[in-house]
Symmetry: C2
Subunit: 361 residues, 2 copies
């Protein structure tokens, strides 16, 4: 920490009291004489006075800092949430304090620690971005009992505990996908998912699958169990294997295998919906290897609109969850809570279809 120039030094040099300096600092225009203000401001400038925001917080009980915790999904594609949230909060003079940026699902205790640390730092609110729900409750309780605003961003419509949340609506994602397939005349739609995709929680898996089924139902399409492939991604393979494959590659390989299996069926699907874009890349490879045309014979849709989807051939039609927008929405809700306004308990994150040549010629 730097050598402090305090308001007292400013006051002394300007020949006023600290109180006056404070008044000027906080813009109480009518409370202080024009002439003295100018003099004090000049001194502030000369001394390069920089108010100690910590001391202010001690007094005012407002830190203007929002804690943010990301756990379970801290991948490149996921950090977009930051951008939206930070931009909006910054406009209102808030900053983000990062606690536990974890790729892996952390233990219950770790999450609690992260929360406690933020609370100890007197943050004005907490945004918790998590892929899990099972363990969510305990750490949440300490936030709730501390009575500071909390916004949840996750995949799952948390019922167990009443917290405002931005809901990443993967059910909707599934429905939109089926709708798109349906509009293209596709009727036999397969699904490839995973039980344990390094970066994606089991909750997301459940949601996407739920959306798929819901979509089928809504459009009167047959539910064919053989068309649903949920494969396990074995992350704990040999070290050499792990070196060879990035997580993305691993899921891709898995998607390929799954698709190959599906294509051995006597009745083949004319479309396939993949839980994650990486899986879809593999599925596309398998379809092409079989000599089938994309999208004419088999159309493909993925989830999360990862960057490669734009560049592979054929381009992958994918669901974009607009995570920067979700970050913005989280920030909006947070700001409302801080203002004491009402907020919706469940804000749906936007879900949009990005159409590329894996579904449309």
């Amino acid at each position: 920490m730097s050598k402090q120039i305090t308001s007292e030094m400013v006051a002394k040099k300007a020949g006023v009291s600290r109180a006056t300096v404070s008044l000027i600092l906080n813009g109480h225009l009518n409370r202080v004489g024009d002439e003295t203000r100018k003099r004090v401001l000049k001194v502030m400038d000369e001394l390069e006075y920089r108010p100690n925001l910590l001391a202010r917080t001690m007094k005012t009980k407002r830190s203007q800092i929002i804690g943010i915790i990301v756990e379970g999904i801290a991948e490149g594609w996921f950090t977009k949430i930051f951008f939206g949230a930070e931009e909006e909060l910054r406009k209102k003079g808030y900053q983000l304090l990062l606690s536990s940026l974890l790729f892996q699902k952390s233990s219950d205790k770790n999450l609690c620690d992260a929360v406690e640390l933020l609370l100890s730092r007197q943050v004005d609110g907490i945004i918790l971005i998590t892929s899990s729900i099972d363990r969510e409750i305990t750490p949440l309780k300490s936030i709730i009992s501390s009575e500071i605003p909390l916004i949840l961003v996750n995949f799952y419509p948390t019922k167990e505990v009443q917290v405002p949340k931005i809901y990443l609506d993967y059910v909707e994602a599934g429905k939109i996908s089926i709708q798109h397939f349906h509009s293209l005349g596709k009727r036999k739609i397969a699904y490839i998912g995973t039980d344990n995709l390094a970066n994606l929680s089991s909750n997301m898996r459940k949601e996407v699958l739920r959306g798929y089924k819901k979509g089928l139902k809504e459009f009167g399409l047959p539910y064919i169990p053989e068309f649903i492939k949920i494969k396990e991604v074995n992350i704990d393979s040999s070290p050499r294997e792990r070196l060879k494959f990035s997580k993305g590659r691993l899921s891709c390989e898995m998607g390929k295998k799954a698709m190959e299996e599906i294509l051995t069926l006597s009745e083949r699907p004319d479309a396939v919906y993949c839980m994650h874009d990486h899986i879809a890349y593999g599925a596309i490879a398998a379809i092409q290897a079989e000599g089938l045309k994309i999208p004419e014979e088999v159309a493909v849709i993925g989830n999360n609109n990862l960057e490669p989807s734009e560049f592979i051939v054929p381009g992958l039609t994918s669901i974009d969850m607009q995570l920067d927008r979700c970050g913005y929405l989280a920030a909006r809700s947070m700001l409302k809570l801080l203002e004491g306004e009402e907020v919706e308990m469940e804000v749906l994150g936007p879900v949009s279809l990005v159409v590329r040549s894996s579904t449309v010629i």
Copy 2:
């Protein structure tokens, strides 16, 4: 901010003084009786006492918070820096306070404000990640004069001001690329760059080009002006155009055009080094459209090892700057400075070649 349980409340309930509570809190084992400690700890637990770290900072002058500013390059691929830095700092009990997460190059004033804000918050140090160098000096001065540790992460070997930095060595990237081409028997190596690639600063451009030239020289390869294409990416195209193309797509298109032009030359290159992976994707498309074989007739290398490079066909050989590692290195240097240790003024970020089928069959 939550209703505070103070050390005074704990003290009162435990029948001791605040000082004793503080001693226990700070682990001065030998300074307090075993029995009283147990009693106090129990009370802390009952009251769910959470020390106010702000008050502690007021006293100790150590906030355990590191400010971090990212400007000019806040893209998905770039945020990896966070992960490395946060993980390492967290281990030592530090947290990251985000100031100004800006995709665009901000004004000098914005950068100053971001710095001032962090200093006002009494951060223990600042990590500044920036793509620019021209305007770098002014805001830096206020950090330096404040005497708090500063670590710079950037593309350019800053000479004008003595600040320890993690240097993203794009010159080395160029050299390694040429070396790889050379080892494959390639002798006529073209270069495609840009003057104004949305997300990448002109400094990075200069550095990469410098590396290319240096590499040519080192391996005794001819410098052929016609083989160097620096195109402008017109970001301010019509709104419709902008909607149509993401920044990635835009650079990709640019790379395609540039490669097409190069292929009209009477003497064609047998390899091409691209400033950024997105450009390389376009170059690959142009090469394939011309019916040339990759890598036999023309080999391709890109920069930054973006995610698509792993999934496109052919896979793109690319230089990986290991940004998470750079974040880690920044954190290490910062921790050293905080401990009062010496640090190297220039730590080279790792630069590694990821070989894929755009250069090797």
